[in-house]
Symmetry: C7
Subunit: 70 residues, 7 copies
């Protein structure tokens, strides 16, 4: 599976995104582009203690993304 | 929703921007460009204790932005 | 062996990926592209104590990758 | 307002610039270019205790800039 | 000697590669490309205490490489 | 004043250069190019205690430069 | 003196190279290219206590270089 196909596979599904600096977010993948900019709906930040903080439809800048997992 | 559409959706609305290094800001999205440079009006820095420090119309350099959320 | 051939050699095999910031993951190499974006299946994060945390089919952004080893 | 217009709006006015690594400077915006390289006149570094250290007409490299605010 | 010639000189020889973040590896240089992506065979990570941890044929992403020495 | 004009203004004058990672240098600006690579003559590193360590004609890589001030 | 001329001036002479992350090396400049990739002969790492550790002909990746001084 090509990297770009992972985005297509996960569209409308819940994914986890970790960004540079160490914060982790979970939300429903709503969009992406060729720079790997990512839009998540119903996003929550996943805190160190496992709790979550809601942050709504969030746009992640591609070059701040470390990885995307389900 | 494509990443660029998030900016269009949030125009004139209050958003949160986190930049590399960990500072977080909140303000009214007033503009953006294709590099994801962002202009916020009535910007405040959101401090660790939840207090805010006003910093007016602020320009964020695109490549310092980690994410934008409502 | 050219760098790109390493990916071809390891396709469908288990590899380790370390990303910037220090996290290490292990999974089955399922895809890659010219930016060195990488797709692993059955991915686990390898924790400091050697334990693992499952994270499924994961997409790693090329410029967050430090190295790939078997 | 487009990002570039923020520079035009703030020309000849006092702005604050934070650079990567965390230092903050205040000065009169005297020039800029398309890379967001910035020239401030009468620049002072704003120290942690609120005191300032004068550093004259200073050129900030665009990719070291996090944000510019008034 | 041009930088690229160092790679040609060290081909099939043991080299040390340090990557961003501080880890150091040693292995037999098996390949490289114009981005300075590097392939080492029989790679070991060189730990702080001088011990080594084997990690096989490893691909290092060019922009994570600080330097290559014999 | 355009950013590039700052270099022209400071040519043959003493300037301070801070690089990523926090070290600060002082020397006589002897040259520059469009990447903001900078050559200082009679360079000294300015240490935390205000003392200086001489390091001669030094070339600073543009993308390691945070700012240049007099 | 243009930045590239510094390299020409220092060819076959001993220079100091500091790389991102803070390590410092000393060696005889043997080559360079337009990306500021640098080859040093008879390289030693300069340790914090002023001692040195020999590391032979070493290739430094341009974008890991902070500065080059004599």
């Amino acid at each position: 599976m090509k990297p770009i196909e992972v985005f297509q596979k996960y569209l409308r599904q819940t994914v986890v995104v970790e960004v540079k600096g160490g914060k982790t977010f979970r939300g429903v993948l709503d969009g992406f582009d060729q720079h790997m900019n990512i839009v998540l709906n119903s996003t929550v930040e996943v805190l160190a203690d496992g709790k979550t903080a809601p942050c709504g439809t969030t746009l992640f800048r591609g070059d701040s993304v470390l990885y995307v997992s389900p």
